[in-house]
């Protein structure tokens, strides 16, 4: 029950952010879906007492894989789905907590929060980069010819 609630809410949050970031209309629904999948996976993992950083890492990696599939499918830059997918995972609340304690002179409380923010952002970035590397390995492997022929370099002009 709680999970369904979280799924609905994260869908709207991701789609809302997609509108704020001016995402093209055709892919708005997909943006919400990516955000929903990432956040649900994170919540489920946390529910099974997986560490938050590890859960974020896994969710970000899954978001990146789905983004790559969607980017191929709908022929749009991958950043659109990446952004929508990681927005729910981004530790904005923690960053706020850290900053609030800093300006209130509670440095000893603020520093653990700040460290957590750094760890979580690092996990998100690592998850994204990780799946990109895998994608590159696949691309440089057996599909290389296919890609060179159709994807970008149509250097037919004189």
């Amino acid at each position: 029950m709680m999970l369904i609630e979280q799924m609905v809410v994260s869908f709207f949050a991701a789609a809302g952010f997609a509108i704020i970031f001016n995402v093209p209309r055709q892919v708005l629904f997909q943006c919400g879906t990516v955000g929903m999948i990432g956040w649900s996976l994170y919540r489920v993992l946390v529910l099974f007492t997986v560490d938050e950083v590890v859960a974020t890492l896994a969710a970000a990696a899954v978001v990146a894989v789905i983004s790559q599939i969607f980017a191929k499918w709908f022929r749009t830059p991958i950043i659109i789905f990446n952004v929508a997918g990681i927005i729910p995972l981004v530790p904005g609340g923690l960053a706020y907590d850290a900053m609030r304690h800093f300006v209130e002179n509670n440095y000893d409380v603020a520093i653990p929060y700040a460290a957590r923010v750094v760890m979580l952002s690092g996990a998100i970035a690592l998850g994204l980069v990780f799946s990109e590397i895998i994608n590159q390995m696949i691309r440089n492997g057996k599909w290389k010819k296919y890609h060179n022929k159709y994807d970008r370099k149509g250097l037919e002009r004189s």
Binding site: E5, Q6, V9, S10, F12, A13, A15, G16, F17, A18, I19, I20, F21, N22, V23, P24, R25, W39, T76, P77, I79, I80, V83, I86, I87, P88, V90, P91, G92, G93, A95, Y96, A98, M99, R100, F102, V103, E104, V117, S121, G122, I124, A125, L126, L128, V129, R152, K153, G154, L155, E156, R157
Partner: protein
């Protein structure tokens, strides 16, 4: 003559992408791809969040563009990507590409302001729930979030110093959240404020910064990190002022 225009097309494409919040490596990649499809194989591009440098070959004169303002507008990134694809496949010549890019540059936002405000409001309310807030706090966060986002866009147009605009918007968010608690319309002030400032928080910038650092774009990573840190500090200070007063 043609060289001049190819350089222009590359710089315009790079500038548009960087202003719209594309990743640094993608900007460099796109510029070099465009140059290569016009037959300049030795093209060099270097992008940072504040400037782009481009040369058609290593011994040629280098051109330079200054980037003053940055925002997130993924529709423009998509469109420039489309133009770059068309150029690579040989469907666009230099003049047409330049015209297409200028059209992209001049167009307005995809969504009207009211829709964006509504989206920010919904996102705020949803974030309150996502951070384990109660449903009682959904509506307060909804309205305070819309107010914060609207005020920030308003202050951005009015005040040229970005961090001050964010500071003011955040303090209004804090003030109204406090009022809502004071009038007994909401439950937890922390959840309402976190939800309401989510549209302002530079979460994306933080992640992008770490990502650029990992990819080896050290200058961009540090610049973006500094920008994110300043924004976060401005928001935190804005909220803190309210806590200080009351």
């Amino acid at each position: 003559m043609e060289r001049y225009t190819v350089t222009e097309v590359c710089l315009l494409a790079g500038k548009l992408m960087l202003q719209s919040g594309a990743e640094t490596y993608r900007v460099e990649d796109t510029m070099i791809r465009i140059a290569q499809s016009y037959g300049m194989d030795g093209a060099q591009a270097h992008a940072t969040p504040t400037a782009i440098m481009f040369a058609t070959d290593i011994t040629e004169p280098t051109n330079f563009v200054r980037i003053v303002s940055r925002e997130t507008d993924l529709h423009k990134v998509t469109q420039v990507n489309g133009v770059s694809r068309a150029i690579s496949s040989g469907h666009l010549d230099v003049t047409d590409a330049a015209k297409a890019l200028i059209t992209i540059d001049e167009q307005k936002d995809t969504y009207p302001n009211e829709i964006q405000l509504l989206a920010a409001a919904f996102a705020s309310g949803c974030f309150t729930i996502m951070f384990d807030g109660a449903w009682v706090d959904f509506l307060p966060a909804f309205f305070v979030g819309a107010l914060g986002y609207g005020l920030m866009s308003y202050f951005h147009d009015m005040i040229k110093i970005r961090f001050f605009a964010e500071f003011l918007a955040a303090s209004f968010v804090g003030l109204f959240a406090y009022l809502i608690i004071f009038l007994n319309l909401g439950q937890e002030i922390d959840k309402i404020i976190i939800g309401a400032i989510m549209p302002l928080v530079p979460g994306l910038l933080i992640t992008n910064a770490v990502r650029d650092l990992m990819a080896g774009h050290l200058v961009s990573g540090i610049t973006k990190g500094a920008e994110a840190f300043l924004t976060a500090a401005a928001i935190g200070a804005g909220i803190a002022v309210i806590f200080f007063i009351f």
